[in-house]
């Protein structure tokens, strides 16, 4: 995809002074379905009776729960701490009591449950005391600004949910030349960033300035798609009050998926992010407008990420509009705030019609990466017809914005040839769904790619587990072998000591015993030979002794003969 030549240090050519725009390969012009909703102001959804906060709402390690059931928490209090470098804390979006820490359904394509903290709200919405609001962030060192962004639990709000602090800290080999603020909301139905820019242009701009202060890029572009002139006007007005040479608003054409990080960079600079690389590798960082606004709130007001703007829409919703909801609000509460369901809802999606996924229940909560709740009816987006064989028409290749060969990827994913799929750059697929949309055979192509990716990750995980098991088994064998050698060495030593008197220590012992025996023998001899109690004898006794002696000598004599 890209060559070494593109990895030269950041130069003026990526700055693109005359706002010349480029075109990425493929893409689609899709019907927007958003004008009516985008015209309505954001409504605050209010506090639901229960908030469900998954411990993992981001890419990386799940957070570690800090609270226990029964405990009272205040709005903005950290209730789960990050675990590891790529991890994010979770904060209480409103005050209340912890009801439970248990597995609940979460918005995930699997429909499985995951550990969540459930807060029973008390309606008081009582804030924890802001400990370090800061009006002038220029006085705060950059490292501590990054730490505050992490402490506030901010992740990329565009949809991927990568920890923002980690993204800002990864600078690449030659620093950052260009900061792109992504306001190119390209997926149909979704217009939450549009309303955010219209209503809170000042907050977004202030957040952008903080990001500029942290990254010190030479230039910064706020990219806005041309279907939202009101948002563009609002941003330009905000900018005019505090104009800066290195910060500009650029209008980009409405082509799906311009909002993709790589595609937007291509449109603005004509450069491609290396395959499997990061934009930072070519000196560019991309942040969503919602993320910028969250950074403003975290730094200036010391408020963690506890709410966001989402689009609740689709023909299955009575009054579709943009809502500001607390993180953890169940989908059902958000839909009820929009007048409830209307008609027969066929599927409930999190995200847009192209990249979103169906959830199995409306009990699942809004998480940090939820940008849209889409309730579609059967008439609106009919279920896809039965797939037919691939006729290799090449339409998918023509629309692929990542310049891949979707039909080859499909072929290898379908046949389970995962190595070949990787050779065709499977992992550069952004799962935008353009290929599946144009496919005349209605093949659910993206699902094949998602399956293949997941299968490859799973195999890698199993291989890692096997390597650990091998290592542990070998370590055990080595330990047993060591113990065996130790035992046989000790055995040999003992045998040696028993077999011969060669040992000096044994000799000395033997000598002592010998000497003792000698002494005893001598004493015994003396005791046997010398007559006892021979002093102070009476004459009578003396006479008896002589008689006995005489008798003895008489007895002895005949035996000698």
């Amino acid at each position: 995809m890209n060559t070494e030549g593109d990895l030269t240090p950041v130069s003026e050519d990526i700055i693109n002074p005359r706002d010349q725009l480029y075109r990425f390969h493929g893409g689609l012009v899709l019907p927007g379905h958003r004008d009516a909703v985008a015209a309505l102001p954001v409504k605050v959804a209010g506090i639901p009776p229960q908030l469900v906060l998954p411990l993992k709402q981001h890419i990386g390690e799940a957070a570690e729960c800090l609270v226990s059931p029964g405990e009272r928490v205040l709005k903005g209090q950290m209730i789960a701490a990050p675990r590891g470098a790529i991890s994010m804390p979770v904060h209480a979006p409103s005050s209340g009591a912890i009801l439970a820490v248990e597995d609940r359904p979460v918005p995930h394509p699997s429909g499985l449950t995951a550990p969540c903290i459930i807060i029973e709200t008390d309606g008081k919405d009582e804030w924890i005391e802001a400990s370090r609001p800061c009006a002038d962030y220029h006085q705060v060192p950059v490292d501590s600004l990054l730490q505050r962004i992490r402490d506030a639990g901010i992740v990329g709000l565009g949809g991927a949910g990568f920890p923002t602090q980690a993204k800002l800290a990864h600078r690449g080999p030659q620093g950052i030349g260009l900061l792109v603020i992504n306001g190119a909301e390209c997926e149909p139905y979704i217009c939450c960033d549009n309303r955010l820019m219209q209503e809170r242009a000042g907050e977004v701009l202030e957040g952008v300035r903080i990001l500029q202060h942290i990254l010190q890029p030479r230039h910064c572009i706020i990219a806005i798609e041309d279907h939202m002139p009101e948002a563009e006007t609002a941003m330009r007005t905000a900018l005019s009050t505090a104009a800066a040479e290195n910060l500009r608003v650029v209008r980009v054409p409405e082509i799906y998926p311009t909002g993709g990080e790589r595609q937007l960079i291509k449109v603005l600079t004509g450069r491609e992010v290396p395959s499997q690389g990061f934009p930072a590798d070519i000196g560019i960082i991309c942040q969503n407008v919602g993320t910028a606004a969250a950074v403003y709130r975290a730094i200036v007001r010391d408020q963690p990420l506890i709410s966001r703007i989402i689009t609740v829409t689709g023909a299955g919703v009575r009054e579709p509009r943009n809502l500001e909801v607390l993180i953890g609000t169940p989908f059902r509460h958000a839909i009820e705030t929009c007048g409830g369901y209307s008609g027969e809802v066929d599927r409930l999606l999190m995200g847009g019609p192209m990249m979103g996924f169906a959830v199995t229940t409306d009990e699942v909560p809004v998480i940090k990466t939820t940008n849209c709740i889409l309730a579609v009816t059967r008439d609106e987006i009919p279920p896809p017809p039965r797939p037919l064989p691939c006729i290799r028409c090449g339409k998918c290749t023509a629309v692929c914005p990542a310049d891949l060969l979707p039909q080859q990827l499909y072929w290898y994913a379908h046949s389970g040839n995962l190595d070949a799929a990787q050779d065709y750059n499977l992992f550069d697929c952004i799962e935008c769904g353009c290929c599946a949309t144009v496919c005349p055979s209605h093949i659910p192509l993206v699902q094949y790619y998602r399956h293949a990716k997941a299968e490859i990750w799973d195999q890698e995980k199993q291989k890692k587990a096997a390597d650990i098991a091998r290592h542990r088994h070998e370590a055990r064998l080595a330990r047993l072998e060591r113990a065996r050698q130790e035992r046989s060495r000790k055995l040999a030593e003992r045998k040696k000591s028993l077999s011969g008197p060669a040992d000096k220590a044994v000799d000395a012992k033997q000598a002592i015993i010998q000497a003792a025996l000698e002494r005893v023998r001598k004493k015994k001899e003396e005791a046997d030979n010398a007559p006892k109690n021979t002093d102070n004898l009476t004459p009578e006794q003396q006479r008896m002794i002589s008689e006995i002696e005489a008798r003895r000598s008489d007895k002895k004599r005949p035996t000698e003969h």
Partner: protein
């Protein structure tokens, strides 16, 4: 004539020397086949293949003493991988060695455990923690599910518990309705595969 012979002879000797030197100097140490086979085995160390662990089985395959279809934990995937590596035809798992089952990990019912340490001695990957007359427990993350701890337990306090599926272990399934393959796909396999 003689000059030509001499020239050619000298050249041949010279080139021979260079080649001989290069063969020693730039010798490529190829991965021994046992290592490659061992890398494909699941490292359960269960001994169901009738060898005393994955490596001995790998050695037996390399020596031609064992077939490639004796590993129940690896199942079809391992057989396929071994067949690809060794250039043999894949064959179904030999039922003599057991059937492929989903992975389960050992679980010790701690209130029943008498602390005899027999299971600790049986575990091939040191995944059981305990001491004489102290309760034992299995480190689930390290357990390979080999079941070797089950027979020695005198009080039968060990169960195999299936590993529950979590979001982290979930794999996107293939589409429910399979896309039929057309002749065009077969052509593609021929040209690109």
């Amino acid at each position: 004539m003689l000059t030509a012979l001499l020239t050619l002879g000298t050249l041949a000797a010279l080139i021979g020397l260079i080649l001989g030197y290069a063969a020693i100097r730039f010798r490529v140490e190829s991965d021994p086949i046992v290592e490659q086979i061992d890398a494909l085995l699941p490292q359960t160390q269960c001994g169901q293949c009738s060898f005393a662990g994955c490596r001995p089985y790998a050695e037996a395959i390399a020596a031609g003493e064992a077939d490639i279809n004796q590993c129940p934990p690896g199942g079809e995937n391992t057989i396929q991988a071994l067949a690809d590596l060794l250039g043999r035809d894949p064959k179904p798992l030999n039922p003599e060695h057991g059937a492929h089952t989903e992975k389960a990990v050992a679980f010790i019912h701690e209130e029943l455990c008498i602390g005899c340490t027999l299971c600790i001695q049986a575990c091939p990957v040191d995944a059981i923690l305990g001491a004489p007359k102290q309760m034992h427990t299995v480190i689930a993350a390290e357990c390979t599910g080999c079941k070797l701890c089950l027979p020695p337990c005198p009080v039968e306090c060990i169960d195999m518990v299936p590993v529950p599926q979590t979001i982290a272990s979930w794999v996107w399934p293939l589409p429910e309705i399979d896309t039929p393959a057309a002749d065009a796909d077969k052509v593609a396999e021929g040209t690109h595969g």
